[in-house]
């Protein structure tokens, strides 16, 4: 076993994990508190990336682009909540799935119309665009370290906010017993809008962090959103802690699968079929994990207490 390579791949897995966490955090709060299934959360991830790309082009600064794009994405989330989502709270999950599926189509087409089908690159400042040397001649890109630290910082911030502030108390209360919070006279409309906007900003942030690596492109959120759903189901709907743990699990499983599964499969199949099967099987692994978790703990790993 090459331990250097193993460490690098662990870091790559953690990096994917924190990205998933940024997406899943908003998703799980919206789901937990408003009982709203938002497939279009991935579209906010995409919009964040496009806002950021446009602003970086205008301002010539990546940092400035991110700082300006964050409130913009939050604003977009707030508008979406006001116009569409609010009308859907009284509907059932099936309606949420369908309406937000419609929203995905609208967002994707709108981006095609405004920015064209090409996709947009986000140039990075030189400091971020390089790599650092680790032990044993291994290297790791600086930008991926930035992603990991940003993600961990956001996780820490959310933890403090949820467990030590009044807003956080309301959020926790909302996730475990919505009716009671409403009965206590809290302006639930405002709370919902706030949570939705923050969730949008977090999803947007994830998009801004991945775009310098893969480019902003149409439909970039449509596959990762399904994985984010897997994360929140495994973690337990409404639980930030669950989302974090599950995101790390999923990120590591996916990356480790892509890294080492083909070697493993070559032991008992031809190398060509191993190379074809390995990526598919590692993608499948997370769904197997979810099915297993649901079969044994139907409420996920860390369900909020009392529903």
């Amino acid at each position: 076993m090459d331990w250097g390579l193993f460490t690098i791949q662990m870091l790559n897995g953690v990096q994917l994990g924190v990205l998933l966490f940024l997406l899943a955090a908003g998703l799980t709060l919206v789901f937990g508190i408003m009982d709203f299934v938002n497939l279009a959360h991935g579209s906010l991830y995409m919009m964040g990336a496009y806002f950021c790309a446009t602003l970086v082009q205008l301002t010539d600064s990546f940092v400035l682009g991110v700082i300006l794009a964050l409130p913009l994405t939050a604003l977009l989330g707030w508008i979406v909540e006001l116009i569409v989502v609010r009308a859907l709270y009284t509907h059932d999950h099936l309606d949420h799935v369908l309406a937000t599926f419609g929203m995905i189509l609208c967002f994707d087409t709108a981006v095609d119309f405004i920015w064209g089908p090409t996709g947009m690159a986000i140039p990075l400042p030189e400091v971020l665009d390089s790599h650092i040397d680790l032990f044993g001649g291994h290297t790791f890109p600086v930008f991926r370290i930035l992603i990991i630290s940003t993600g961990l910082a956001v996780a820490g911030f959310l933890y403090v906010m949820v467990s030590h502030t009044r807003i956080g108390m309301l959020i926790r209360a909302g996730a475990s017993n919505r009716t009671m919070v409403m009965a206590l006279g809290v302006d639930i409309g405002k709370l919902f809008a706030l949570v939705f906007a923050v969730g949008a900003a977090l999803a947007g942030l994830a998009g801004m962090l991945i775009a310098p690596i893969t480019e902003a492109s149409i439909g970039m959120g449509n596959e990762i959103i399904i994985v984010a759903f897997v994360v929140i189901i495994i973690g337990g709907i409404g639980s930030i802690k669950g989302a974090f743990v599950a995101a790390m699990l999923v990120g590591l499983i996916d990356t480790m699968g892509r890294s080492f599964l083909d070697q493993l499969l070559k032991v008992f199949m031809s190398s060509e079929s191993a190379e074809t099967s390995a990526p598919a099987l590692s993608a499948m692994a997370i769904y197997i994990l979810m099915a297993m978790v649901l079969a044994f703990r139907p409420q996920g790993l860390f369900p909020p207490k009392v529903r």
Partner: protein, 394 residues
Amino acid sequence: MIKKITALAAMGAFLAAPAMAADKVKIGFVTTITTPAGVIGQDMVDAVNLAMEDIGGKMAGLDVELIIEDDGFKPPIGKQKVDKLVKKDQVDFIGGFIWSHVLLASKKSALDSGTFLISSNAGPSQIAGKQCDKNFFSTSWQNDQTPMAMGEVLNQNGVKSVYVMAPNYAAGKNMIAGVERTFKGKIAGRDLTKWGKDAQLDFSAELAKAKASGAEALWVFYPGKAGGALIKQYEQAGLRDTMPLYTVFTVDSIALPKLQAGNLAGVMGSRNTQHWGPDLDNPQNKKFVSGFKKKYGHYPSFYAAQSYDTIFLIKSAVEAVNGDLSNKDGMRAAMKKADFPSTRGKFSYGNNHFPIQNFYLREVVADADGVWTTKIVSTVMENHQDPYAAECKM
């Protein structure tokens, strides 16, 4: 009741198909317009439109009708569109096809109906070999050929071991097979990554593996958007100093403007192989490249050059039979001669209707205006025929 009448009227409206007129040449063109890969399709459509202008919209005195369809980067959609072109529009020729798997899915529908099928890009091994067809022609290459040329280049550069990466689909597998055919050194490792509308774009795990494999060089095939992402991550991971990058169909005039905008200067001087280049010296190519640049403001890609050729190949066929579109045998014989001005210069068709042509080594340079493009350095393979032609019983 009114509702029902309007419904019936609507039904009637779409039932009424345009009546067939035999005094037109109908050409269907299937490519990818939507999804991020739509950039490639757009380049092809631009080239086809330019070709239509250059021939004055006429072939042998007949008007030409062009019907462009979007395959959405998905084999089943491509097939559906070909079915529609064959059955509804009843076209005489179908061109286009960026992707090998889309072409493989669509070919039965086109060929079973006796329609001419012309691939303007994809060249899967199956159609070059056992499944070759008398009504299929290619204006591009067979998938294996370009990487075979690259394998030769690796040998010439004295590379001893290489790590290969390609998308997991028909062409990706052909490309890897191609480079392995001619490369004499060791393949240190192979990665096939997810492809399609949700293609994998983050290659962190694969690049780390490549690096750990200790290979001397990295060889990749990533057409379209994924190419830019891969080159960027290759740079960010600092592999440039230790593992030189060799590519096929990855650094082209679709990727270069973006790489230049992102100032990824590392790509300057990098080398790739191709059967064509914007600087290739022949009258047709000069006319095409200058016309394209004038009309669209940027360099054409090889996809565009092959699409431009497609229209001229069809024109040569229609003119050979004086516009008698029912004379399929005559048109087939004419196309087989490859007697049309091609952007790649003179070439001939093999028994499997794939071109026998030269492959060049190209280098990324800045042109007189500072725009990044490619320049032909040398000829790697002359009059090269693909390795599957022998399997074709035709």
